[in-house]
């Protein structure tokens, strides 16, 4: 069975917000809302570093790290448990999704989500990407929305928009139930964490910190499972074996 998940390599993330912009464009997210946010850890505000520059007496401790955050697609999701009309539910492939026809906008799921990943739709989305798959239907005003792992793209064999938009290949998407997929290998091979692990929500989103991974292992829109084996990294030359993330530890 398929169990979709994502690995985000925070050592590769450069905080450019390309994923957030691609998400808004792809999913027709209304103005002022974001399903995918790039938070900053360390400083007091977004895109604000902590520490001091090594000039004018500063101690050179300047640092800034990014925390990309969206729906974590928890296997044990509190948001699913509170919905009075069962509008938010977990699909068989692990994606937590919302039936916008059922949602009545009570926002109890927003209260239950520990990741603040859901937004309330005050305005009806009106923009649609002119080309490609950015044809997500408008949602009626007054529903709760969130990341769907771009399930409409997955249906077409394409990776989520955030994943292909990332210029540093920091997002890797695939089937966690497939032990040979990049997401499964990276979760096993690298030091990964899930957000707020003490709440035992068991997110399908993992974060790599410490050692940098090879990142997404191919170019193009296609999901890894749609490619010929093995997937080719952008730096692979003809006849050179594809990079697969190195030896297992």
């Amino acid at each position: 069975m398929t169990n979709y998940g994502m690995v985000i390599d925070q050592e590769r993330c450069i905080g450019c917000h390309s994923c957030a912009v691609a998400c808004k464009d792809e999913n027709n997210v209304s103005m002022g809302q974001a399903w995918n946010r790039i938070l900053t850890t360390g400083g007091e505000n977004i895109d604000t570093p902590a520490g001091e520059y090594p000039v004018d007496g500063g101690d050179g401790t300047l640092s800034m790290q990014y925390q990309p955050t969206a729906c974590q697609h928890c296997e044990n999701a509190p948001c699913v448990k509170v919905c009075p009309v069962n509008a938010t539910y977990t699909r068989e492939d692990g994606i937590v999704e919302i039936d916008y026809d059922k949602c009545m906008g009570c926002r109890y799921c927003m209260a239950a989500c520990p990741y603040n990943a859901r937004v309330f739709n005050y305005d009806k989305p009106e923009t649609t990407a002119p080309k490609g798959t950015g044809n997500v239907e408008q949602r009626e005003r007054g529903v709760v929305e969130k990341c769907t792992f771009c399930s409409h793209r997955l249906d077409e064999g394409l990776d989520p928009a955030c994943t292909i938009a990332c210029p540093s290949s920091a997002r890797i998407f695939g089937d966690l139930d497939d032990p040979d997929s990049a997401v499964s290998r990276y979760v096993k091979q690298y030091e990964t964490t899930q957000l707020l692990e003490d709440l035992e929500t068991d997110p399908n989103t993992y974060y790599i910190r410490g050692e940098m991974s090879p990142g997404r292992n191919h170019l193009g829109n296609e999901m890894e499972s749609e490619l010929d084996e093995p997937p080719k990294r952008r730096n692979a030359e003809p006849g050179v074996p594809a990079t697969d993330g190195g030896e297992e530890q």
Partner: protein, 74 residues
Amino acid sequence: MARRLDDEDWEQSVEEILDESTHSTELGKQMGRDAVRVSIGEMSETDFHKKYHDAVLDEFGVDDRPTKPEEYDE
């Protein structure tokens, strides 16, 4: 208990979200916290469902939460 459940910032944020809704802020706040307690394992899904069943029916006129136990008698 996870410290997160006692986080004042989270509670304030939740209140701000729910205050803009036409539905009960207090019920949403309590259910949200207890849903996390269910995830942690401090409360069973059955207990969670029973605890809020009447209140959910009063508030929404329906209770289609997926936590409904099979043996639960409406």
